[in-house]
Point group: C2
Chain length 375, copies 2
């Protein structure tokens, strides 16, 4: 078995058992630098969303490049990142239910940089009571519903909730989270910008309404990989929380960027390495990476890197079928192919480790320490 | 954190953090007993496929009920089951590539009951050479292509491969694997029976052809949860390898059984427990179980147990939207709902543990020790 850690110089990509989740370090480092430079140039804080990578080692790379902290989708994910040395974490979903409330307070006692979101007064009361018992102050933000999912309705309801938060002695009101998930994958930059402006306007207005009431609201967090350079240029958005830009995927490539029909602001740094382990006839190859190797929530399958015309289709939990009739290169039993991923976030959640690759060398193994952390 | 092991008497289902993968013990035990009784009555060996549960604890329950061993889809899965005390394991996919060949031989040295499948003469030679170096004899079967996936073509090609295997001194020829995956989900019992008879006839003929040539072939393994009581009544099939019957899922429920349009030979023992953690308005509830809590390869979503009319749809990696406008019961913030799973196998692969439930009691935590074992 391969041990975790730095293994420079003694392991090659061709040595890896497959399927293997491989991250190209040059591409990843380029993506990290590009987003960091953008946020810096715009004067916005960058808090990359860790639900994409679920890996403290990658969170630390983004911090080293200037990120102010990390986002996590769930509390257990935040616990993993905290254990991995991340000191400021925004948990982007509500902490409802006894377990979540109690554990969130426990985490806050050892992580002063924890920020929770709230979209319901009762939940705020529950958090306040638990914080009182623990003798701790909780940083909270209102989760604003700008995408028909979680969150309080912008406007008067949100102002009322913020006022409620400011009255609870064990909660410290920080500002607003407004994540407009439905805009992230709108195809076409102009269309996406229009959708995001429409979604975010009520959030920016809510921030102004709070400040008009004398409730300081220094912080408004939003933006996805699709809207980073839209929300990042809105007056009133102070922090960006994209995640997928680290790896990119086919789902984002298709949405188009500011100047190109292919969204190529960031490179596809993540692939699944797979082996041809059966060749029943000349027309198809069977690969060892199927439904358990990729998330399948997109309508399009993985793409074989470097062999145009070789068409992947799922063939069960453990298998894929590669139609090689029009493949630009011959494909043979035992060949190792790299597959570009349709949707990275839930695909990463299938693996226990990243193999971090430079050229053909495996430079490091990074444990995906928040994998499966969904509670 | 919850520790693994027997926790009888001090943990309730309502205490579990969500999303939680819950297996109902009465239902699971019933499914195990039903399939075991069927195989016994038909005089067939039962070797349940471990790719469904990926859990040594469940493999051991099937062994205690009379199974002859387990199947595993991949070598790393077999390694986990072997470590978990399973002594006879059929690995149902080919061991192609240096890593797989070397590791398979290493596993065989400590697990005499390991059986490998081969569909290519070169791969047989590679296994034979590695076995010679290790001084071990490998049990091998031919993997027969009865489903347009892996495997050697039935008939002369298969006979030639079997003859080749018998000539290699470090391989011990066991028989034939013929898994007709494409027939498993054919809707309608008569249609499914027709498809399976068509798929399996060449396998049974190949077995006869081998024996006519004087090559003993005492073993022919096939059948899925969809075809267990079709293949299990075919003259020539000696062993059944279903897996999904342990849990059942919506994907199998819809195919119909011998006497019913709903396939109910086995009970839905597996569910995901989820919490309502946001209620933006009265028409919908937001659940904490999304794309990372379920495999999404089927066209239909999870179903809420006990609340007809509450309609689940995915709302991102971590969220689901429940349309409660026509729900038969009211749904409120903090409610805990049980969701029946569309496709169990790849869903199980998302979780680290089963919570084994009897009534409302959590009787045990079972580690999914082969989770993520895809190499």
């Amino acid at each position: 078995m391969l041990a975790s850690g730095d293994v420079r110089g003694n392991l090659l990509k061709e040595d890896l058992p497959t399927p293997a989740l491989c991250v190209d370090l040059d591409a990843l480092e380029g993506n990290i630098a590009t987003m960091a430079a953008y946020a810096r140039a715009q004067g916005r804080a960058l808090r990359p969303h860790g639900k994409s990578h679920k890996c403290s080692a990658i969170a630390r790379l983004t911090l080293a490049a200037g990120a102010v902290g990390a986002c996590s989708a769930k509390l257990s994910e935040a616990e993993a990142f905290a254990a991995g040395g991340v000191e400021s974490i925004l948990v982007t979903t509500p902490m409802v239910g006894r377990h979540r409330v109690e554990r969130a307070v426990r985490l806050a006692t050892r992580l002063p940089g924890l920020i929770l979101v709230v979209d319901h007064a009762q939940n705020a009361d529950d958090l306040n009571a638990a914080a009182a018992t623990a003798g701790v102050s909780l940083n909270v933000a209102i989760d604003l519903n700008v995408t028909n999912r979680t969150g309080v309705t912008p406007g008067p309801d949100a102002v009322a909730l913020a006022e409620h938060l400011t009255r609870l002695p064990h909660l410290s009101f920080q500002g607003i989270q407004a994540y407009a998930g439905h805009t992230a994958h709108v195809v076409g930059f102009a269309e996406r910008a229009a959708a995001s402006h429409q979604a975010m306007a009520p959030a920016i207005a809510t921030r102004r309404a709070l400040e008009a009431k004398g409730i300081p609201c220094p912080w408004l967090s939003g933006a996805s990989t699709g809207t980073y350079n839209i929300d990042g240029e809105m007056d009133g958005v102070t922090e960006l929380q994209p995640g997928s830009y680290l790896f990119m995927d086919l789902d984002y490539n298709r949405i188009g960027s500011r100047n190109s029909p292919l969204y190529d602001d960031f490179a596809n740094s993540l692939t699944v390495l797979s082996t041809v382990y059966s060749m029943p006839g000349r027309e198809q190859a069977i690969l060892d990476a199927g439904l358990k190797a990729f998330a399948t929530d997109t309508p399009y399958p993985p793409v074989v890197r470097g062999i145009p015309g070789a068409l992947y289709s799922f063939a069960g939990d453990e298998h894929a079928r590669l139609d090689v009739r029009r493949a630009s290169l011959p494909v043979s039993l035992g060949d190792r192919l790299e597959l570009v991923i349709p949707h990275c976030d839930p695909t990463v959640n299938l693996y226990d480790r990243f193999f971090a690759i430079r050229g053909e060398q495996v430079e490091a193994l990074w444990r995906i320490d928040a994998r499966g952390m969904s509670t």
